[in-house]
Structure formats: structure tokens, C-alpha cells
């Protein structure tokens, strides 16, 4: 089991007699990519961060504000995951196994948004209708 371990090749657990032959060739150099690519992404992340900071600096409000914030956030997250974390070069089986489960979080976000909205409604209706501070936030 430890014979192939010193090689820079992912080996199967246990006896690797049945391991697919393809990883040996395609991953023989690990995830090695040109430095220029990393530097480009690095630069892009700087630009995107500066952009999202400027959203606050120039004090955008409303739909413009959160639209831009989410746009820059997703662009940065995508670059980090795809290039720095090498997701762009992994096989689809791993990409789906890793990226799909967090998508379920969006459902959670949805239900909790409804819940938060409802709590706000009940508080506004029953605790602060006379303009005083709500009891629990004193």
C-alpha cells in the first residue's frame, strides 16, 4: 500500500490493482498550472474587492446596492473556487458532490427569510404599535 505513496500520484485506497489507469497520466503533475494564471486571478480579485468597497464608498442604496454586492461576491467566490481551489480541473463527479449540497442551504435561507419576516410582523403588530421600544430589546 505504501509503495506508490512517494509518487506524486493519487492512489486508490487499499490494493490499487483495480485503480483506473487514467489518473496516473492526467494527474501525474498534480494540479500544476501556470503562475501567470494565478496572478491574473489575484489581480481580478483585487479589482472586484475594490469594486465592492466602492459600492459602499459611493453609498449606493436599494436594489443597486445589493445587486452589485451579490454580483461582485459571486464573481469572487467563483474565481476562488474554480482557479485557486482547482475546481475547474476536477472531474464532474467531485464537482457535483461538493457544490450541490451547499445549494440546499438556499432552501434554508428561504424558509428563514419567511420566518424572520413573520417574526417582524408579529413584533411590529403586538409590541411596538404604540411607538415604544419592543420589550425584548430594552
Amino acid at each position: 500500500m505504501k509503495t506508490a505513496e512517494s509518487e506524486n500520484v493519487p492512489v486508490a485506497h487499499g490494493g490499487d490493482a483495480h485503480a483506473a489507469p487514467s489518473p496516473r497520466t492526467e494527474a501525474a503533475h498534480g494540479q500544476q498550472h501556470p503562475i501567470a494564471l494565478y496572478l491574473t486571478v489575484w489581480g481580478l480579485l483585487f479589482v472586484l474587492s475594490a469594486c465592492s468597497y466602492l459600492v459602499d464608498y459611493f453609498n449606493f442604496q436599494g436594489a443597486e446596492r445589493w445587486g452589485l454586492i451579490i454580483l461582485f461576491m459571486l464573481a469572487k467566490a467563483g474565481l476562488i473556487v474554480a482557479v485557486f481551489m482547482h475546481m475547474a480541473w476536477e472531474r464532474l463527479a467531485l464537482v457535483v458532490a461538493i457544490l450541490l449540497p451547499p445549494m440546499a442551504v438556499l432552501v434554508f435561507v428561504g424558509t428563514m427569510a419567511l420566518e424572520g419576516d413573520y417574526t417582524h410582523f408579529t413584533r411590529a403588530t403586538f409590541f411596538v404599535s404604540d411607538g415604544r421600544q419592543p420589550v425584548e430589546a430594552r
Binding site: 493519487p10 498534480g30 459602499d56 454586492i69 469572487k76 485557486f84 463527479a93 458532490a97 442551504v105 427569510a113
Partner: protein, 219 residues
Amino acid sequence: MIADWSSDQRSFKSASWGKTMMWIFLVSDTFIFSCFLISYMTVRMSTTVPWPNPSEIFALDIGGRKIPLILIAIMTFDLITSSGTMAMAVNFAYARERRKAAIMMLVTAFFGALFVGMQAFEWTKLIEEGVRPWANPFGAAQFGSSFFMITGFHGFHVSVGVIFLLIIARVVWRGDYDQGRRGFFTSRRGRYEIVEIMGLYWHFVDLVWVFIFAFFYLW
């Protein structure tokens, strides 16, 4: 993809077990941070007291001028820089240039430590201004609890990452993976792939900050 999933013995052909396990850990960590950010969203939506304006709270006086959110912006650039140097370290490690890889990891650890330092400064400033997990002078009480929980947990991740980086940098510098020296805990021979796995963790910490920056500080 179906062929991979239904194949004999292993589904993840391009990833070793070490990398796969780090990814699975990171998915579970994603859920933890999601829970923090979702609870923050819920309390912010449900409170009837105005939410404090982060742009003003995290402003700093520089040269007599109040610049909004500047410390957080510097922290963001610092963390992105550390991600860049980490990517370089991974590259050097696969090129088997162990000294360069170790130096890049030390640079990454330095930027990480700098980030934690700035966070300590930020915490000190807010605590002096009277922000507590249960109350603060600026508005909704939930601001403090969300702030300390979210940034505290993220800062803890960065701190652990710095320690992890220093350990791996030492081992790479010593040339363990060239000599096939056995690990202290595992008593197995390691591979340079550990630098990439370490990098996955580090980039993840940066990734989480992208979401915290957007939702907590900018929103």
C-alpha cells in the same frame, strides 16, 4: 459522471483520499458558516429596532478624515494577498522547489497573522465603544451577537490555518517529502499534495470572508 459514481472502488478519480476528505470537511464547514449567516439574516430581518450602519461603525479616522469601512477593506485585500501567495506555494511544491514553497507558505502565514491582528484591533475598538454580544449603543442588540459570533468563528479558522501553515512549511522546508520521511502522527510517508490540501483550507477561509464581507459589512 454516472460512470465515475458507479465505478469500482472509487468515485473521485482525479482526487486522492486526502483531497476528497478536505473537501468533505470544507462542505461541513460551509454548513456551519451558513448557519451563522442565516441566523444573522433572521435576527436582522425580525428586529424592529434599526440595524446599526456598519459603514459608519467600521470607519477609521485617517489624517483627520473619516473613511468608511477602511479597516475591513484592508483586511479583505490582506486575505486575498495571502490566497495569492498560497497558490504560489502550491505551484512551487508541485515543481519540487521546497525552499520557495516553504517561504511562500510563511508569507501566507504572515498575512494570516496580520489579519488576525487587525481583527483583534477591530474587536478592541468595538468593545471600547460599548459593543457587547447582548447590547450596543448604535441600535439593534443582535448586531453585537452576530458580529462576535461570525467574525470570531472566522478569526478562529484563520488562526488555526496559520498554525497549520507553519507546521506544513517546516516539514516542506526540511524536505520530508523528498526523503520519504515518515510523519510524526501518521507514521506514513507524505506527498507534496499536502500543500495543495492545505491550500484548499486556506482558500476556503478566504472564500468565507468574501461572504462575510458582502453580507455583514456591506449589506
